[in-house]
């Protein structure tokens, strides 16, 4: 077990696992397909940390992660990534 939770670090933006039910709605509102979204590896430390959070379990390739960043100009900037294998 890691000593620290990297998601708690102030320089790591918030990562949220998008519920499968909401995926279609989000993709539609963005006007893109899952394949077009930027990718994030399943082995990414952030994904590994997310998997350990209660009630999430294994994150399989194809799921979507929502990343919320703070922006000086935009307030908050939401971006989405598709989980891929490896």
């Amino acid at each position: 077990m890691a000593k620290y939770n990297i998601l708690m670090h102030e320089m790591v933006p918030e990562h949220w696992l998008v519920p499968v039910k909401e995926e279609e709605k989000i993709l539609k509102s963005l006007g893109v397909t899952k394949g077009q979204l930027p990718k994030i590896r399943r082995t990414d430390p952030v994904i590994k940390t997310l998997e350990k959070a209660p009630g999430i379990g294994e994150i399989v390739p194809g799921r979507i992660i929502e990343i919320v960043r703070k922006s000086r100009t935009r307030g908050i900037a939401k971006i989405y990534r598709t989980v891929i294998g490896e």
């Binding site: 963005l30 006007g31 893109v32 394949g35 077009q36 979204l37 930027p38 960043r69 922006s71 000086r72 100009t73 935009r74 900037a77 939401k78 971006i79 989405y80």
Partner: protein, 883 residues
């Protein structure tokens, strides 16, 4: 419209040419090393055999029957008497030699291991990872090359060494290409995948050449010089060598000459074949032309900046372009460019004859191709009839052709005022390096433009040249006008402010016009105002019975109507102005009420007034403002007159004494510090050694000396001094530069430290060993005006050299960094919805910049300027509400 379907490249496969394939694709077996006979006809079976294609117009190819532009060229071949190594495959040959058994040709690993590797290959084949496949191949090689006893035939292998460039040795004994080839022939097809070869398309023995492909003649054309002399291509020269040596080798072999002679010839053939492929092989002397120039062979054609890729594929030469020296022209608008008449007559725009331009084009054709005349009138160089046939317009036929002109003809007319062109200066580091200008045809031979446009191009007039491209289609012109015109690029996407603005004399002039609101005699004022495009004059004032204009009233003429603005000028935080009023620039209802116009008002990248006009009134008004500004400045400065010289740095005797005192004081202070240090009276500062502490204290003492000298200099040099005017207004230089000229130059440093390297325990032999005083470590107490003493001069040069080296290193490094960045980003684009996509349609950013903000329209990086909006909506009343 044809629908274009974009296709992605799924896979690229590289294969080897087999000897059979080389023979199969060959149109002729070349046996003679000659090219042409005495009559100039190509020799049969020679290097210029017409079966390999044609390069002379009129002749037909013997293979395909095509003429020059139809025949693609055909390969020939040479049968090599003895096999030679292909230099491009040296590494592969070496690795195969060392990982296979010289007796049975198997990979020197037990079957179980091989099977394991095959399993892994199959595994990766499913997942399509080339990198992993390469890893496995190199793993096989490194495992197998260390094995001595072949696990298959129990033969004891010897270690193979590569004797660069092309010789292989086995325990000192030379391996001939022939032997290598025989070994490679023994390798089983089944083992090839573990070596990295696909047995369907490549066999290892094909890396040893037995048949040599001769490229088509249009790859290596003969050049006929003006003198009628023929000159062969470098490749042809090299092929001549190959054939000649090949022939001699064959003759000697067939005659049964001594082995030594044959081996020498064989090595020579190897050398020629090697240099044919790559004339810069390490360990091989480059083959040279008779003149001593080294030959450009295959690899040299492709490689590097002048190679095919970077020079001919990534970048090309274009038509409708011109290049010449640039020079300034303050009477042109920032949107214009002056084009020399000579260039304008060569550069053309093709127009189709319609009802609307019929008469205009007819008149132009009548002008003919044009002559040198006082007033430039555009003519026509060529016309194309509807059937596509071309007529060259000359003075003789111009009237005749003009009469015959019909609707639908294409007319190549010369450039005229108002044409839209692209103007560019290399290095093109940002998008403002290429902007659209409106043409003004002018006499003489330079391109000319407004001085405000120097900044985006980073141009000056010490011999700079620039390029110009004439746009050829209506769409291109429209697009350029909307997106690329100079005025559309006022605001830089780098920092969100105006990149163009007044420079040097513009600032000096307008500063002098507005500083303390001088009285300008009526006649002078009127003359100055004739420089600008205005239809009114300010009210003159009467002083002692004479009529004057006020400087600020004249300046106010160029301001757009209704400007209300208040900001701090450069003088705001200076002690120069005792009342402190000149630093506060206030403009009310389009009139300059208070303050001196300086760099902070109209300067490039920081002019608050310019920025305000641009944002409130738009780019067109901004351009007009700057045009008028620069013209007014030219008028003012040519009337008032402005000059500087070294005696501007003259200071009175008492000031000189004070400056000397400051210098001596600093030196004594340093001496004192050193004494304290030697007596152990200095305590360590946190994070520093004792020496560091002393250094930082000394540096502080010396920089204080420079500041003090700056203070003294500015005290004695007032606003009646040209250099001070330039420094205070921000036109050029700063007070420190003046202080260095008049007072003390100060400490010279290398990498932020006092000079300390050189001889043992001292910087120069002029000092005592261990002297760490001010002068021994690069302190310069002289001024530029007085001159430096020899040691000071040396230290000053050292510091200067560091600056030069720094710049050289920085530019090359940042240039390469930028090149990589551009290559990575070049085909990204912003879609209509504001997403950033790559060519595959994958998302790079969901919203441009993740905030959708155009940085050139941002206010110093922010999307909205709240202060500005509040002021605009609620008026200046609300000013007081600001805390």
């Amino acid at each position: 419209m044809k629908v274009e379907i974009s296709k992605g490249i799924e896979e690229l496969k590289f294969a080897l040419l087999s000897p059979e394939e080389i023979r199969r694709m060959s149109a002729v077996k070349v046996i003679t090393p000659d090219t042409y006979d005495d009559d100039g006809y190509p020799i049969e079976k020679g290097l210029m055999d017409p079966s390999m294609g044609v390069i002379e117009p009129g002749l037909k190819c013997k293979t395909c029957g095509g003429k020059v532009d139809q025949c693609p060229g055909h390969f020939g071949h040479i049968e090599l008497a003895m096999p030679v190594v292909h230099i491009g495959f040296i590494k592969e040959i070496y690795s195969i030699l060392s990982s296979t058994c010289s007796n049975c040709g198997r990979i020197k690993l037990p079957d179980s291991n091989l099977k394991e590797f095959f399993e892994r290959i199959k595994d990766t084949a499913n997942r399509l990872s080339d990198i992993e496949y390469d890893d496995i191949v190199s793993e096989v090689e490194s495992d197998a090359s260390d094995v001595v006893i072949c696990p298959h035939c129990h033969f004891e292998n010897e270690k193979v060494a590569l004797d660069k460039p092309t010789t292989f040795r086995e325990e000192g004994k030379k391996l001939t290409p022939k032997e290598i080839r025989e070994r490679f022939e023994k390798i089983q097809n089944d083992d090839l995948p573990l070596i990295g070869l696909d047995p369907k398309v490549a066999r290892p023995e094909w890396m040893i050449l037995t048949v040599f492909p001769v490229p088509p003649v249009n790859v290596r054309p003969t050049i006929t010089l003006e003198t009628g002399e023929r000159s062969e291509d470098d490749l042809t020269h090299k092929l001549v060598d190959v054939i000649r040596i090949n022939q001699r080798l064959r003759e000697n072999r067939d005659q049964g000459s001594p082995q030594l002679i044959i081996e020498d010839l064989w090595d020579l053939l190897q050398y020629h074949v090697t240099t044919y492929f790559d004339n810069q092989t390490p360990g091989t002397p480059p083959a040279r032309h008779r003149s001593g120039r080294s030959l450009k062979t295959l690899v040299q054609r492709l490689k590097g900046k002048e190679g095919r890729f970077r020079s001919n594929l990534s970048g090309k030469r274009v038509n409708f372009s011109a290049r010449t020296v640039i020079s300034p022209e303050p009477f042109l608008s920032i949107n214009q460019v002056g084009v020399p008449a000579k260039a304008a007559r060569e550069l053309t725009v093709t127009e189709t004859v319609t009802e609307h331009n019929f008469e205009r084009l007819k008149e132009m054709i009548k002008n003919g191709p044009g002559v040198e005349e006082a007033v430039y009138r555009p003519g026509v160089n060529y016309v194309y009839r509807i059937d596509g046939s071309r007529i060259k317009i000359s003075e003789k036929n111009s009237a005749e052709v003009a009469e015959k002109m019909e609707l639908g003809w294409q007319v190549e007319r010369q450039m005229e005022d108002g044409d839209i062109v692209l103007f560019n200066r290399q290095p093109s580091l940002h998008r403002m390096s290429m902007m659209a200008h409106e043409v003004r045809v002018l006499p003489y031979r330079t391109f000319r433009f407004n001085l405000a446009v120097c900044a985006p191009y980073n141009a000056d007039f010490d011999g700079d040249e620039m390029n110009l491209h004439v746009l050829q289609s209506q769409e291109a012109r429209a697009e350029a006008e909307i997106l690329m015109k100079v005025q559309e690029n006022f605001l830089s996407p780098r920092f969100g402010g105006p990149i163009m603005g007044a420079i040097h004399d513009h600032i000096t002039a307008l500063f002098m016009l507005t500083y303390r609101n001088p009285l300008i005699p009526l006649e002078t004022g009127l003359h100055i105002m004739s420089y600008i495009d205005v239809d009114r004059t300010p009210e003159p004032v009467e002083v002692d019975g004479k009529r004057y204009f006020k400087g600020r009233d004249i300046f106010s003429l160029v301001l757009p109507e209704g400007v209300n603005l208040e900001f701090k000028g450069k003088l705001a935080d200076k002690s120069l102005d005792p009342n402190g009023t000149e630093g506060l620039i206030r403009i009310e209802k389009g009139k300059l009420v208070n303050g001196a116009i300086d760099e902070n008002a109209i300067g490039q990248s920081k002019g608050a007034l310019l920025d305000y006009v641009l944002r409130k009134y738009g780019n067109a008004e901004g351009a007009k403002f700057l045009d008028n500004l620069t013209r007014l400045a030219a008028g003012v400065i040519s009337f008032i007159g402005f000059s500087t010289g070294i005696d501007d740095e003259d200071v009175p005797g008492e000031a000189k004494a004070q400056l000397r005192e400051v210098g001596n004081e600093a030196v004594q202070k340093v001496e004192k510090l050193i004494e304290n240090y030697r007596n152990g009276l200095i305590g360590m500062e946190p994070g520093k050694t004792l020496e560091d502490t002393l250094e930082s204290m000394v540096m502080k003492a010396l920089s204080q000396a420079r500041e003090k000298s700056s203070e003294i200099a500015s005290h004695y040099l007032g606003m009646d001094n040209s250099t001070v005017i330039m420094a205070r207004s921000g036109a050029r230089a700063n007070m420190m530069n003046l202080a260095q000229m008049a007072g003390i130059i100060g400490q010279q440093s290398i990498r932020g430290q006092r000079q300390h390297r050189g001889y043992t325990n001292r910087t120069l032999p002029h000092f005592q060993k261990g002297d760490i005083g001010a002068y021994a470590r690069g302190f310069v107490s002289s001024s530029y005006k007085e001159g430096l003493n020899p040691t000071e001069y040396f230290f000053h040069a050292t510091g200067g050299r560091e600056g030069l080296v720094d710049i050289a290193v920085r530019t090359s490094r940042s240039g390469y960094m930028q090149r990589r960045l551009i290559n990575a980003l070049e085909d990204l684009k912003v879609s209509e919805e504001g997403k950033v996509l790559d060519t595959e349609g994958s998302i790079i950013q969901l919203e441009y910049g993740e905030d959708g903000t155009d940085p050139s329209r941002s206010i110093k990086g922010d999307s909205v300027d709240v202060d500005y909006l509040v002021k605009e909506i609620f008026g200046t009343k609300y000013e007081g509400g600001k805390k």
